[in-house]
């Protein structure tokens, strides 16, 4: 999408270009929102519901969301399941392989906050938002397939408000917490008690 990015940046600088830019945004967001192909980053129990969602009974395809295991084909990463310290570098790498614009859905309590694996465990990352910018959170252990469909519909709403200009988008860098560095989980856990 280099051409669209350049065009957007040029329009942003041109006086009066904003009118064309917003119209162009509307067209782009409409087309992007209707075909959010997803990268099923299924690791644990939620992956079963992710499979169930794309099969005949719940039929995910009618929302324009086709699961593609190749990160380079996809727009939205659905992190379904527990992410451990051994797995996190692989998730981060797959996220970085996805072309922009890209979105992330944290499916299930483990991906949201660590869920049942919040306390007493030495290997679980407490929420995928420690290193990925998450757009939609779905709670549940595991969430029902309908909840995932709801998340896709909500993501569409969000996509509608986005711009093709890179400077008007939120940052999408991923930072993996290093051992010993201060983490969100450690301080939040102390306050919760």
């Amino acid at each position: 999408m280099a051409f669209v990015d350049d065009l957007g940046a040029a329009l942003d600088k041109t006086p009066g270009g904003g009118i064309i830019l917003t119209s162009l945004d509307a067209v782009m967001d409409w087309s992007r929102g209707k075909s959010l192909w997803m990268m099923p980053m299924g690791t644990a129990c939620c992956a079963m519901e992710l499979i169930a969602a794309s099969f005949s009974r719940f039929d995910f395809d009618r929302l324009g969301s086709i699961p593609r295991p190749d990160p380079r084909h996809t727009d939205v990463m659905v992190v379904a399941g527990t992410i451990t310290r051994k797995m996190a570098p692989a998730v981060k790498r797959l996220w970085e392989q996805m072309p922009e614009p890209k979105w992330c859905i944290a499916m299930g309590n483990c991906a949201v906050s660590g869920g049942i694996f919040y306390y007493d465990t030495y290997s679980v990352i407490r929420g995928v938002d420690e290193f990925l910018p998450v757009d939609v959170y779905i709670s549940g252990c595991p969430p029902r397939p309908e909840a995932l469909q709801d998340a896709i519909l909500r993501l569409r709403e969000q996509v509608k408000s986005e711009s093709i200009v890179a400077s008007r988008r939120r940052p999408v860098e991923s930072i993996l917490p290093q051992p010993g560095s201060p983490r969100r989980g450690a301080s939040a856990g102390g306050e919760a008690e």
């Binding site: 690791t43 644990a44 129990c45 169930a52 051994k86 797959l94 049942i116 306390y119 290997s123 679980v124």
Partner: protein
């Protein structure tokens, strides 16, 4: 000849979870395949040490997430053995019924993904339709689609709801014929037969020596089923047979699963006939179990093999140590033997036919 090293995973659609396989290739022939596991190691055994005996049950759900009821049951049997709890008969029957239903649900994933691995995706759709019916039954039973938390120490969490038995009978009446259709569709297919037959042959000696169990061992002709050979619960009251394979290849592993589903329907039918009204949970149990110091091990035949739980109690309300003997862990360890000498595309089929669930492999 130069050696090529190919890395598969940990996020790959055909590894059925988060398994990484480092494959050493000579041309297209695998000289060595090494599975690297632990990407889903959450430390459940450590977490159990800081929870009460009842609070561990939801953790066991997350072990084998395709067949949660089994881990529930194996854990509860170990607790019951440790604390000397007698389970009411109706609860035992309900446990057998739900676990045989779970076997069907779990095998539907296993058989379906075998189809997906060999390019026959239609079969996956058919098996998943059957799985959804079982999941619906479980949802009526306990409100959850995957993580049930239904089997508890001393019985089950609640009685069968109204109309459940009839719905279950409707399911088992149509299931065997649906299985025959899937069998014909998938294992009668020329392409699937060519992809599966003779691929990944496990000899009976290796099957025993490497500690495999369940359909993987039985496909190699190892006649070992805990339901019959180390009878637990009310299994001795049922008439069922244990399907065995001849060659121990991927084809036999798939076929054994098909026939196990049909046998599971027979067991459920008999259990529903013998089901009597009564208590579903042992009376007079304290809310906080604190078994006497000691250790206990109990195992059941899960969809993947013999699933055991080893518990050590120090007399406090929390277990001192919990160890899960996971069948998928042992079944996966034969992958290097099976893959050697096959092509890279066969590796996918072999891994799928072992039907590992990584929640259980890594714990």
């Amino acid at each position: 000849m130069t050696e090529t090293v190919v890395n598969i995973g940990p996020s790959h659609p055909s590894t059925h979870g988060v398994c990484r396989v480092v494959v050493h290739l000579d041309g297209e022939i695998i000289t060595h395949a090494e599975p690297i596991i632990g990407h889903l190691h959450r430390g459940i055994e450590k977490m159990a040490e800081n929870r009460t005996y009842l609070q561990v049950v939801p953790l066991t759900d997350r072990l084998d997430y395709v067949g949660s009821m089994y881990a529930n049951w194996a854990y509860c049997r170990a607790v019951e053995r440790l604390a000397g709890i007698r389970v009411p008969e109706r609860a035992e029957y309900i446990r057998v019924i739900v676990c045989e239903l779970q076997r069907i649900a779990s095998h539907m994933m296993g058989i379906g993904s075998t189809g997906a691995d060999t390019g026959a995706f239609t079969a996956f759709m058919y098996t998943f339709a059957q799985r959804e019916m079982v999941v619906e039954l479980f949802e009526l039973l306990c409100g959850a689609r995957l993580t049930y938390n239904y089997v508890r120490p001393g019985g089950v969490s609640q009685d069968l709801p109204e109309g459940w038995v009839e719905q279950c009978r409707t399911f088992i009446a149509q299931h065997p014929s649906a299985m025959l259709e899937i069998d014909r569709l998938l294992f009668g297919n020329v392409i699937a037969r060519a992809r599966l037959k003779g691929v990944g042959v496990l000899s009976p000696e290796d099957a025993v020596g490497w500690g495999t169990s369940g359909p993987v061992a039985r496909a190699s002709g190892v006649d070992w089923d805990l339901r019959r050979d180390d009878p637990y619960s009310v299994y001795p009251r049922f008439d069922f047979s244990v399907p065995l394979g001849d060659n121990g290849d991927s084809y036999d592993r798939g076929r054994v699963r098909v026939w196990e589903c049909v046998e599971a329907c027979r067991i459920i039918g008999q259990a529903l006939d013998q089901l009597e009204p009564g208590l579903v949970h042992a009376e007079g149990l304290p809310r906080l179990l604190a078994p006497r110091p000691g250790d206990a091990y109990d195992h059941i035949e899960s969809a993947r093999g013999s699933l055991g739980v080893y518990l050590v109690s120090d007399g406090t309300p929390r277990p001192w140590r919990m160890k899960v003997r996971s069948p998928a862990f042992c079944n996966l360890s034969v992958l290097p033997i099976l893959a050697q000498g096959h092509t890279l595309s066969d590796l996918v089929v072999i891994l799928g036919s072992l039907d590992p669930v990584f929640g259980e492999v890594d714990r």
